[in-house]
Amino acid sequence: MSDDMITEGMLDMFIFETEQGLENLENICLDSKDTGEFDEDNVNEIFRIMHTIKGASAVMMYQNIATLSHKLEDVFYFIRENNPENVPHAELVDDVLEVSDFITNELEKIKDGQESDGDSTELINRLSVFLDKIQGNVQGETVVPVEERPLQETPHFYIAPVASEDSRFYSIFITYMKNLDMANIRAYMAVNSLKGIAEDILFTPADIITNPESSNVVLEFGFRIALQTTETPDRIMELVNSSAGIENIEINECTSEEFLEFCAEAEAPMSSAGEVLTAPVETPTILIDSQKPQAVKEETAKKEKAAEKENSQAEEAPAKKAPARRPAPKKGEAQSFISVNIKKMDLLMDLIGELVIAEATVLQNPDLKVPGLDLSNFQKSAAQLSKITSELQDAIMAMRMMPLKNTFQKMNRIVYDTSKKLGKDIELEVIGEDTEVDKNIIEHISDPLMHLIRNSVDHGIESNEERVEAGKTEKGRIVLEAKNEGGQVWISVSDNGHGLNRESIIAKAKTNGLLGNRSEKDLTDKEVFNFITLPGFSTKKQVTEYSGRGVGMDVVVKNIQDVGGMLDIESVQGEGSTMTMKIPLTLAIIDGIIFSVADTNFVSPTNSVSEFIRLSSDKLIVEPDGEEYVMIREEYYPLIRLNKFYHLNGAVDNIEDGIVVVLTHEDKNLAIFADKLVGEQEIVVKPIPSYIKKVNGISGCTQLGDGSISLIIDAGALVRA
């Protein structure tokens, strides 16, 4: 979902609360799958959730959602009051989940700014039938029937505005030159010029036209405008600044609350509406304000200033209610959360990236290299600075980290749905759902993970009969596990199904002509299994609703590679298979080793560099076709000379004069030849600008301490090259 679609308070809140409720609902349903019934707490909770959703959606005028949740509430009302036995639990859970799906679907529409137009009648009818059935099941006189409770209209309605550009609130403070005549007229001109763009505008003093005295007030205390508009501050400035005699203009964006406060301030002496009404209203109340004794006025002016300061500070911290899918604190937890717009976090992240670069430019400044300079104090401060910037980085990283819990919970539902449709009995075990990953990465792995899970349910686990024949437990088992592993997160999906069949994969690969001139015996299991990640490769004979079309695994791999990760496949025939996604914890700032070739600097992520070595020329083997290999400790590594690869002139040619850097990627090694090592540094990964066409082997660029640009080597791409 996009973050900027919704900026509208009421809708935001409705969507957020409803989503939260539905999530709870699903969890209750899935948890109760094993016990086979809802206990009293569950029933009460579901009743409460449906009641809340019903109320909220009625206020928001989503009739279809309101009537549907009303009906489900009825069902649970009956269950709560009568505690009937023989409730077909599976059926009930299905119905509840379908209601939840329906509402989720409608919410998506609302989020996209569409009408919520889904028809819930069919579902409602089904629920009615269900309700009749369980009512019929209950015997005896103690039955509390569900009274006809027509859906009551709420006392309130909220009419959501038609989607429009987001308007913002500004407070504008203008001061005029002290010797200016008719400042009130100038002020009015400013207001007048803003009227064209204003959706709403208020100003104080308000009587600038009718009261000539207000000119002095404007001169003395300045002129304040509260403006609601969709225009930018620059445009406002342009409009306001058109009249002469202006000394200073301040434009601050403010929240709607502050806007209202401003309005209230403007009408400060109005203590209660009732009182004013009974008093004869002859002089505008604003006038009373401007005629207050000087001292009082000054004090209020000061207060206003102070309040303004506070406001502008407060503005930055509490941020908008971002529709971030931050898990809300559960009841009873003492932690408090604020939700922050993800854009602000990204901005902070970028700024810290820039800070890291700036730090490097200062600490490695060429000016410091003057011989004989005493830098001991500088070095001390520099060390302190480095410590703080790296802590700052850790902090922002930690802030962006979110547990995988939500993503994993969705998988629960997928296993439930898919296995049910396929008639398989499968349990899902989740390990390490508290493992935290960068939010950006979570968004990227949700789809691939879903695909892997579906694959496991559909292809991995055999049908119940086959399992019994093979002497396995009838119930299949999928384990979803996440763990931290040296700067990476490993998320694995293992099943205890029949595993991958090496022969049938090879057979299929042959017909697709993927083997080339290699014989099948040369292929390791890993290489064979990797065939299934190629486009259009499926050994499944029948295409099912969920998988088998041969699109998918290649998409999975591509998604994972997009975030710099890789997919590892292990499988033992007859025992099951494990797919592991290995994904970097974060994308933006990494440790890198810098080396230079001719005048160009290259950086490689430290974790893909396995060693540097200086070799004698007898370790270099040149094949007749020009390909070069180096032998390190009796092992051969293909050698890439970066100067040849990128056509750089003036680089070192003799293997003994340069240095060999060994890179490792996915168990493959590669040696690259560079002129010299420069050092290690934290680097901020920036994408290569779009006006440069894709360069093979380069995944991004970064700025080094001396201000020069360095290219980031993508070991994976070079290995494949």
Binding site: E153, Y158, I159, P161, D200, S256, T285
Partner: protein, 131 residues
């Protein structure tokens, strides 16, 4: 049906007038204070308004104050619940807190600007102001 519109912005006022004229006889005021005055006059003339639409950000009296004033007057004059004017706030201040504040003060609906005419009409229907 008698309708009172309080709206300080000319364009919005014109829009509201045009939109609501098809449902009944509309009076327009430009600020909250005038709205309360008009409301009192109508009450005294025993032709009270059935529907009052209040903008929130207005000079002199803002929408909240006007809303509160009208409800206070009704309270004071012991006008029975069902005869009280239905009040709809029309504003671009859509933060939840503002909406709830308005509900607490006794408005019956809260319409975000720009106004969704279809929904507005359906609310009028639910309030039984129009058939």
């Amino acid at each position: 049906m008698r309708i009172l519109i309080a709206e300080d912005d000319f364009a919005s006022r014109k829009f509201m007038l045009k939109f609501l004229s098809k449902f009944g006889e509309c009076d327009v005021t430009v600020d909250g204070m005038e709205a309360v005055d008009a409301y009192l006059m109508a009450l005294d003339a025993e032709t009270p308004y059935d529907l009052v639409c209040l903008d929130i950000m207005m000079p002199a009296f803002d929408g909240y104050q006007a809303l509160k004033a009208i409800r206070d007057i009704e309270q004071e004059r012991k006008i029975p619940e069902e005869e009280r004017a239905k009040i709809i706030m029309t504003t671009a201040l859509n933060e939840g807190a503002n909406v709830n504040k308005a509900f607490d003060l006794g408005c019956v609906a809260y319409a975000g600007k720009p106004i969704d005419q279809a929904k507005f009409e359906s609310v009028l229907r639910k309030l039984e102001l129009i058939p």
